[in-house]
């Protein structure tokens, strides 16, 4: 009997900095990129005698996230001290939530959410030296600007089955959070950080294998590659008859290697206990109502609406709904009535995406109204598809009105009148070999004739029409 296939079992723990004005437990402003240690006070420096005061906005955002993910919102949740010694943690405990988090349950994109809780970010350690990491650093210095930034931690069930799916899901989560407006969700700047719990098990079984934890992967690509590398490592270990050890690992994207940070035996005892400086967090029905009122349409809902109401195919609907800002952009174009939904959507997700090289349409020179007008012209055959693409290139480069571009460049579709007939005849005359092949039954050779006409007309001719005239003239 052959070795059973080992399926991947992945869960994510995602830390998200909330885009509040001030820190979680004090009035210091949030910042990124300011000179170090300018946004500090007795509370976030953990000076003796200072006490935390909970940021109400952070609670509001936490409840919004909980509602958006379909979680139960606890009427009464408890803050706890999570104790560990580290230079980025000046109180030597992080105020977090442990046994009674703000949100429990929930789901997103086919993945179950275990919990969402509120906590504070650590200060930032800057390691001086060539490695940029703590190992091999000449010195490490602490910037407390980040210390105390409001965080939510979102923990999923181990429902993900591949590295690619984990990446895809994290992008959906990012898009959802961005749509909520609760975070910048920028992995480069660390406002979105993911840890992955990774294990494998024989496909078709239910028991969980021993997991390892991959820490702080700071891009979608590294997340996928890190998980991929770890899955491969685990599969190789098992294939060689060894067992997977429970440990925490660091993935180095440069070398693609995994380095152990600590083993199970070294696992820390955080000595959690309820934070005596903060009363239990009471979330009233009015607070839940306020949070609900602030919820925008979320990607999954938007996709459903595009499929159900606009008749878009699922893939196009998903692409439009999940990419930040693209749905509203699409809807602005649609509102002109100049184009039908599906062709407009296809142009946006394929042609426009290609023309912009993946850049954000909202930040481009293309106005959604202009694209809708162009798509309408193409659909009415006023412009051929290939001329339309030329117009789109122009729009992407310079912006403007597609009608004016078509007129200025003479890109309007040619009719099926004498002008085209004469051009086709000239093309046949210029390509006697091709004409001979067509007569001999080689249909593909018509391409050379069509190409000639297209060159002559700068794509204004309708390829189908050209083909028809060629066959007519050559009597095939």
């Amino acid at each position: 009997m052959s070795t059973p296939e080992l399926e991947a079992v992945i869960g994510l723990e995602v830390h998200v900095q909330l885009a509040t004005r001030t820190k979680m437990f004090c009035g210091c402003p949030l910042s990124f990129g300011d000179p170090p240690n300018v946004h500090t006070c007795p509370v976030c420096l953990a000076l003796p005698g200072a006490l935390p005061v909970l940021n109400g906005r952070a609670v509001h955002y936490g409840v919004m996230v909980g509602l958006a993910l379909g979680c139960d919102i606890a009427e009464r949740s408890i803050f706890a001290r999570k104790q560990y010694f580290y230079p980025d943690n000046p109180k030597a405990y992080q105020i977090s939530q442990y046994e009674t988090p703000l949100c429990t349950g929930g789901h997103l994109g086919g993945v179950d959410i275990t919990r969402v809780h509120l906590e504070e970010d650590a200060a930032k350690l800057v390691h001086i030296g060539t490695s940029g990491r703590i190992h091999g650093a000449d010195a490490s210095i602490v910037d407390f600007n980040r210390g105390g930034t409001p965080l939510i931690e979102i923990v999923t069930e181990p429902d993900l089955r591949s590295a690619a799916q984990a990446r895809e899901w994290l992008m959906l989560l990012r898009s959802t959070l961005r749509q909520l407006g609760v975070s910048d969700v920028n992995m480069d700047e660390g406002s979105l950080r993911a840890d992955a719990n990774v294990s494998v098990r024989p496909a078709g079984t239910d028991a969980l294998g021993t997991k390892t934890e991959l820490k702080n992967m700071n891009s979608f690509r590294f997340l996928e590659r890190g998980i991929e590398a770890e899955l491969q490592r685990q599969r190789e270990r098992i294939a060689s008859g060894a067992e997977v050890q429970q440990e925490t690992l660091h993935f180095d994207p440069q070398s693609g290697t995994l380095t152990p940070l600590r083993s199970k035996e070294e696992a820390q005892d955080y000595r959690y206990f309820p934070e005596p400086d903060l009363p239990p967090l009471e979330v009233t029905p009015a607070m839940v109502q306020d949070a609900r009122a602030d919820l925008p349409e979320l990607p999954a809902d938007r996709q459903r609406r595009y499929e159900d109401e606009l008749g878009l195919n699922a893939e196009t609907a998903r692409l439009l709904a999940f990419r930040e800002g693209l749905g509203p952009w699409f809807e602005r174009g649609l509102a002109t009535g100049a184009a039908e939904a599906q062709p407009l959507a296809t142009w946006i997700t394929q042609d426009l995406a290609a023309a912009l090289g993946g850049a954000d349409p909202a930040a481009s020179k293309v106005e959604p109204e202009a694209l809708a007008a162009l798509v309408g012209m193409v659909n009415r055959k006023e412009v051929t598809a290939s001329a339309g693409k030329a117009v789109l290139e122009k729009l992407a480069a310079e912006g403007g009105d597609p009608k004016a571009i078509v007129e200025a460049e003479g890109l309007g579709a040619m009719g099926d009148g004498d002008e085209l007939e004469a051009l086709v005849q000239a093309a046949i005359d210029a390509n006697p070999d091709a004409a001979e092949k067509i007569r001999a039954g080689k249909q593909q050779a018509v391409g050379a004739i069509i190409g000639h006409v297209m060159r002559e007309t700068k794509g204004r001719a309708d390829g189908g029409e050209v083909s028809r005239i060629v066959r007519e003239k050559l009597g095939v």
Binding site: L47, P48, A50, R81, F85, P276
Partner: protein
């Protein structure tokens, strides 16, 4: 006029307001005494009288503050070497409130390190002596504040009480000490010992002063999420009688382990209360005998977290090692903390450890709830619960330093009160072997105005004279 240093805080404020006394002269007189004192009651004394407003409520009468209150630019060391020379960039809310009410800071007073102790012998800056007998301790942990007020080195003072740290030194020094309801006074800027228990309160020569200081200490603070608005204004007490007042004496806290002289003074005060019209009956607090055990899990547990920040990096003592950060941490903490603080950090760390949490911290919290329930039931039948404050009078220096449990027993009567978050006052009710004894009145949450009234009536009837300690 007579010696201004013999005036209570309220009397001095009235004299300044009437133009009979100059606030600067009063400050200077106290400053000179405090600077020359031989009790080691102060850890820092101000050098110049700040300008004050005679029309302000406290009219320029200075106050002393326990070392652990953060005072901007002034050493705030919590009695610990690990905070040696630490001058905070901000002041505790309660300090600010008193200053805004017109009371300048006279000095900072000695204490057991991080408020852990009952004798002020655990201070990193040497013990404070009891002004009634300099071979004896003043109690603790607010021993410096109690000794300073008793000896007339300050008109009044503030301290903190976690398990008895205001009431017990007040009793041992023959002055009044009040621990307010948990949440009545902001903890912002109080260097934390046990956050769910710590509460600031006044130490004064008489009950009127306690009321006057407390009036300017209470109030909800946006910087302390556990603080609460005080429901009623705190009037100065006027009661002469205790008619209709029902006083309960818990059998668990009034017999075993209480020294005969203390018990005798207690009985006399109970008789006086009855003469003033109160009815006194036995009650029960069945879980109170477990209070010390619960307290010595909860308080160290919280302390182990609160004291983890003292690592030598950002403030206070730093002892560098040869081998990097970890050695600097361990050396700093090894040298900076005293033995009792280390003992409690270890106890608390253990009590919170995985696998032990439920058995220790969890059980202690259950006991705490039971103790609060006991008091609630007692207050169904009684207005106040009364006990001796401390089981003994002041003991001699060194007498209990080698026996932590004997030291902890000092708080036998006082420790159930903060576990239930309740207010209580200790007033001097006589001498035993020439040393002061304290009488302890415990009330329901936010009953301070009534508590002060009852204490005032008793105080007038007792007629305790503390002048001997000020001589």
């Amino acid at each position: 006029m007579s010696d201004p240093l013999e005036l209570t805080g309220a009397q001095a404020a009235a004299a300044i307001r009437a133009g009979d006394l100059d606030a600067r002269e009063l400050f200077e007189a106290y400053r000179a005494r405090a600077a020359a004192e031989e009790l080691n009651a102060f850890t820092w004394v101000g050098d110049e009288a700040p300008a004050t407003d005679p029309d302000a409520p406290l009219a320029g009468v200075p106050f002393a503050a326990k070392d652990l209150f953060c005072t901007e630019g002034v050493p705030s060391q919590a009695g610990s070497r690990i905070l040696e020379g630490y001058r905070p960039p901000y002041s505790a809310t309660v300090v600010r409130h008193l200053q805004e009410a017109g009371a300048p800071l006279l000095g900072k007073t000695n204490q057991d390190e991080f408020a852990m102790g009952s004798s002020t012998e655990n201070s990193g800056y040497g013990p404070t002596l009891n002004p009634w007998d300099r071979t004896r301790v003043p109690g603790g942990s607010s021993g410096g504040s109690a000794a300073a007020v008793a000896a007339g080195l300050a008109p009044w003072a503030i301290g903190t009480d976690t398990g008895g740290s205001i009431r017990q030194p007040a009793a041992l020094c023959g002055i009044v000490g009040l621990k307010p309801t948990y949440g009545a006074v902001s903890r912002y800027g109080m260097i934390a010992f046990a956050s769910s228990l710590d509460q600031a309160g006044p130490l004064t020569r008489d009950v009127t002063d306690a009321a006057l200081l407390l009036r300017h200490m209470v109030g909800q603070d946006p910087n302390d999420s556990t603080s609460l608005p005080f429901p009623d204004p705190i009037a100065l007490p006027t009661a002469e009688r205790l008619d209709g007042l029902r006083l309960g004496v818990p059998s668990e806290l009034s017999s075993d382990g209480i020294a005969p002289g203390v018990r005798e003074a207690f009985a006399k005060t109970v008789a006086l209360a009855e003469e003033l019209g109160a009815s006194v009956d036995e009650t029960t607090l069945p879980h109170a005998p477990h209070a010390l055990a619960a307290y010595y899990l909860i308080a160290p547990a919280e302390a182990s977290a609160n004291l983890a920040r003292y690592d030598g990096v950002r403030y206070g003592l730093r002892v560098n090692g040869d081998d990097g950060l970890l050695e600097m941490y361990t050396r700093t903490r090894a040298q900076g903390f005293g033995a009792e603080v280390k003992r409690r950090i270890m106890l608390g760390t253990y009590a919170l450890s995985e696998g032990y949490y439920d058995a220790y911290y969890g059980s202690a919290q259950k006991v705490r709830t039971k103790i609060a329930d006991d008091f609630r039931e007692a207050f169904d039948r009684f207005d106040f619960v009364i006990t001796p404050t401390s089981p003994t009078v002041a003991f001699t220096l060194g007498e209990k330093t080698d026996d932590p449990w004997a030291m902890y027993l000092n708080d036998y009567c006082t420790v159930p009160v903060p576990l239930a978050g309740l207010p209580a006052i200790s007033i001097p009710n006589g001498l035993s072997e020439g040393l002061p004894v304290g009488f302890h009145v415990i009330g329901p949450a936010f009953s301070e105005p009534r508590l002060l009234d009852a204490a005032y009536a008793l105080e007038q009837a007792i007629g305790f004279d503390g002048a001997e300690a000020r001589a």
